[in-house]
C-alpha cells in the first residue's frame, strides 16, 4: 500500500482499460479532494448494483471521497446491501462472514501496524445495522472495549434490506415491515450510547443529505482512529425499497428523519479534540482562551 500501487508498470499503460487510466490520472490518490469538487475528479466508487435512489449508496460514495488517504485505506464489510457498492470501489475491500467485520478489522489493523509501523494505514468498517447491532454485536462492542484503532460506520437503514425486510435491533419500536408484520416489539438500540460507554474516542450521527457534514465526520473519525482509539459513525441511510420511499423523496425523508430523531451529534474525548487540533489543525477544538476579566476601574 503506497502511491506506487496506483501507478502502472512501465509498458502496460496502453493496455489498461480507460477506467484505470482515468483513475491513475484523475483519481483522488495522493491528492486532497473534497466533496465540493465532485465531478472534477475520478471517484473511487462509480458503478454499483444497488437499488435506484438508495441513500446508502450516496452515503458510501461520500464516505469514500472523504477518506483522508484513500491509497492507504482498507474497507471491511459483511453481508448486506452496502458491500455491493463498497466492493466496487478502487480500494481494497475485505469481506468478512456475516457479523465478523469488527473482528476481521481488529486483526487487520493490528497487522498493518506491525507491518508498517508508524505509517498510517486506515481501516474502515462499513456494515449494515443488522450486521453490526445484531449478528456482529458482540464483536463490534468488544472491539470498542479493547480500544481497537479503526473506524466503524453503521449504514443504518433500520431494516435487513438485503434479505427483504426483517426487523433489526435498530428498527424503531412498532415499525411494521414485510417480514415483521406484527410490528417491532422493542425500542431501537442505543448504539451511540454504547459506543460512548465503551470508550469510543469519536462518535457521530449523520444523515447523507449534508455532504460537507458527512465529509467532516468521516475525516475526523478516520484520523482519530489512527492514534487515539475506536471511532463510530452511525449514518441514517434509508432503504427506499423496504420503507416504500419514492426515489425522488429519499432526500426529503432523510431531512425529515434528521429533524425528527436523527439529529446531527458529535462526541469527542478531550484527547481526541487535542489530537485533531494539534495534529490536523481543527481550530474548533483548540482550547478556548479564558474570558478576559474586566479591568479594574481607574
Amino acid at each position: 500500500m503506497s502511491l506506487d500501487y496506483v501507478k502502472f508498470s512501465p509498458g502496460f499503460d496502453k493496455f489498461m482499460p480507460k477506467e484505470y487510466r482515468d483513475m491513475v490520472e484523475h483519481g483522488p490518490f495522493g491528492k486532497k479532494v473534497t466533496v465540493s469538487q465532485m465531478g472534477s475528479f475520478k471517484e473511487i466508487l462509480e458503478e454499483h448494483p444497488m437499488c435506484a435512489g438508495c441513500a446508502m449508496t450516496l452515503f458510501i460514495r461520500l464516505a469514500m471521497i472523504s477518506f483522508p488517504n484513500p491509497e492507504d485505506t482498507i474497507t471491511v464489510g459483511t453481508a448486506g446491501c452496502g458491500r455491493l457498492a463498497i466492493s466496487q470501489a478502487a480500494i481494497p475491500f475485505v469481506y468478512g462472514n456475516y457479523g465478523d467485520q469488527s473482528a476481521v478489522a481488529s486483526g487487520l489493523s493490528r497487522g498493518l501496524r506491525l507491518r508498517f509501523g508508524d505509517k498510517p494505514k486506515d481501516v474502515v468498517v462499513m456494515a449494515g445495522d443488522g450486521g453490526m447491532a445484531d449478528i456482529g454485536f458482540s464483536m463490534t462492542l468488544h472491539s470498542w472495549f479493547r480500544k481497537e484503532r479503526f473506524t466503524t460506520i453503521m449504514l443504518d437503514n433500520e431494516v435487513y434490506g438485503n434479505t427483504g425486510g426483517q426487523e433489526s435491533g435498530m428498527t424503531n419500536k412498532g415499525q411494521v415491515l414485510k417480514m415483521a408484520p406484527l410490528g417491532k416489539k422493542f425500542e431501537k438500540m442505543d448504539m451511540v450510547g454504547m459506543a460512548k460507554l465503551a470508550g469510543c474516542a469519536y462518535v457521530a450521527t449523520v444523515v447523507p443529505n449534508n455532504p460537507r457534514r458527512v465529509e467532516s465526520v468521516i475525516k475526523k473519525a478516520v484520523l482519530v482512529a489512527r492514534e487515539i482509539g475506536p471511532t463510530y459513525i452511525q449514518a441514517y441511510t434509508s432503504c427506499n425499497i423496504e420503507y416504500s420511499i419514492p426515489t425522488d423523496k429519499v432526500m426529503e425523508d432523510a431531512k425529515n428523519v434528521e429533524n425528527d430523531r436523527y439529529q446531527f451529534s458529535e462526541h469527542l474525548t478531550e484527547e481526541a479534540k487535542h489530537y485533531l487540533a494539534t495534529r490536523y489543525g481543527f481550530k474548533e477544538y483548540l482550547p478556548k482562551p479564558a474570558t478576559a476579566t474586566a479591568l479594574p476601574q481607574a
Binding site: D4, Y5, V6, K7, F8, S9, P10, G11, F12, F15, M16, P17, K18, Y20, E47, H48, P49, L84, S87, Q88, A89, A90
Partner: protein, 225 residues
Amino acid sequence: MIPQYGQYSVRPGPEAFLPPAAASMGVVLPDPGQAHINGRIVPEEEAFEEAARMFLGGTVPTIFPGPLVLWAWNEKARKKAKAIKHLFDTLKECAPTGAKPMLIPMPDYRPKYPKINPEVEINPNHPNLTIWHNKIDVCMFVGVHCHQANLSLKIIRGGTNCYTIAMCAQAGHEDACLSFRDASVEKIMHLAEWVKKLKGAVTFGAIKKHVAVLESKDRAGGTRN
C-alpha cells in the same frame, strides 16, 4: 466417462459447470525445477517447449497479466512487467500468419457491475466472458494472486475450450493445463527464447489438433495422461 482419482488430465474444456478441483482428483504440484503438463509432472524444460508450442499453435494466444505485475508495486514487479512485455512482443513477431496474439490485463479482482468490457479486460469472477468474446484458445496467467488464479482457471476449464498456462510465482497451479512454478524474470525470458526457437515450426491453429488428440485418448478409455 468419469475419470477416477489419479487418472485425471487437466486439459481444455468445456468440462462442466463445476469441474472438479484438479487437486481433488489427485493432481499434485511440481517440485522446484519441475512443471506439470495436463497434470503430469515433467522437467521444467519440457514444459517450456510445450508452452511455446501451445502459444504458437493458438489462433488467439493471449497473455493475462494480473495486478502483481501490472502495478508498479516494487522493482521486482517492474522488471517482471518488462519481461512479460518482451514475451508478448516475441509472440507477435513469431506467431504464424493469421494468429492474433493479445495482451489483456486483469487490473484487479473487483466483482464488477454491471459488467466488464471483455475486449479490454479480464476479471477472475467471469474470465469466460473475455475468452468467449475474443475467441481465445490459449492463454497464460502471470502476476495473478493464487486464489484468484485458481478460481479463474477452474471457470475457464468449466466453460471454455481455452488451453491455460500458469506462470506462477509460487508453487504452481493444478488447475492450469500447464503450470510453471517459481516464476521469475529469467523464466519469462526463457519462455520467450523458446517461442523464438520454435518460430516457423508450428502451424497456425495446431492447438486444435493437440486438444483433439487428448480427447481421443479419453475416448479410448485409458488413463487421461
